[in-house]
Subunit: 198 residues, 2 copies
């Protein structure tokens, strides 16, 4: 990897952390200059505009997300084990990887009313994430652990809800029981996906 590319990634890693804390909108080249101790003109040479910086920040966060959440799940046997691995990976991701919480959760609330290429990039990330959860649920169907007529997208929708409730209860309300509640909710969701419909 060229040195310029390494520098760029290091800057983006800093930017991901800043954005997880203050939001993508709060991320300016000026502020990033303070945080990285680089000159504003040096940063402008790397990123032409605030918008392209924001998009690259989302793309960088997505690379980390793939490495730390999706890749370990794909290394786990197909089925319920893989569903749980994905969930565990996300729990680690939002609690330890990003000090400011999940950058995607923060950006979702921030950008939902702001049309444009940054929102479009975020929608791609989030749609892929929901698709991943649905596909992993389908491996549990294929393995015979989940019932054959399971609506995988519905499963992903509800699994996502548990994650968002945990992000809210854990980070905003600082509820010490939130992770335990999230795990119980996932257990109930998995149990209901495992039973035949009455």
């Amino acid at each position: 990897m060229r040195k310029g590319e390494l520098t760029r990634q290091a800057i983006l890693d800093d930017a991901v952390e800043v954005a997880a804390r203050v939001g993508l909108g709060g991320l300016t080249i000026g502020q990033l200059a303070v945080h990285t101790e680089m000159s504003k003109s040096g940063l402008f040479a790397h990123f032409r505009s605030k918008e392209s910086l924001q998009i690259e920040v989302l793309q960088r966060a997505r690379e980390h997300f793939i490495d730390r959440v999706m890749r370990p799940a794909l290394a786990t046997p197909r089925g319920v084990l893989r569903v749980r691995s994905l969930f565990d990976g996300w729990l680690r991701w939002q609690s330890t990887v990003a000090e400011g919480g999940c950058i995607f959760v923060a950006a979702a609330a921030e950008l939902d009313d702001q049309p444009g290429p940054v929102r479009d990039e975020l929608v791609r990330c989030e749609q892929d994430w929901l698709d991943t959860m649905a596909v992993v649920a389908s491996t549990a169907v294929a393995e015979g652990e989940f019932r054959p007529d399971l609506d995988n997208e519905q499963f992903a929708y509800e699994m996502h809800g548990i994650m968002l409730s945990h992000h809210h209860a854990g980070r905003l309300l600082r509820d010490p029981r939130s992770e335990e509640r999230a795990r119980r909710a996932l257990d109930a969701l998995i149990a209901s996906a495992s039973k035949p419909v009455h």
Copy 2:
């Protein structure tokens, strides 16, 4: 009600709308002056600081929330009907009342890492909302519709997750099936709360 009080409420109503769109952090007295066509000095006379404005905006939004979501639910018979009324009220709230989505959802992602009195006010609002969902679930236990050993707080946690998933899928992803999915998820949650534990 005195005229000054009416003016204050009208300004706050505008501010709630602005904050639902751009976030509480994006709400400045200068921006509100443009939106309300009032002078900045006039607004400063009403609200001493940006922080006190933000707190009053949350309190005003909470009054609307009580009127439009909680009050209709309390007028519904205790039990599952009331759980459904609360959920329906929230669906209406986030889709029609506030054009920019739910101000509390937006503020949660924005303020979770920003300690201070505005965050404290939001935490009070959100804790009360979760408590309300738990109490309404307990009326269904008392009426014999939910099983006697139901963990009401867990029920509220999961119900909240469905709402947050809908806010995300409906507003960010613009998934036309999101409301239908949210209703199916609530049906499943109610069904599981109605059954004895095995």
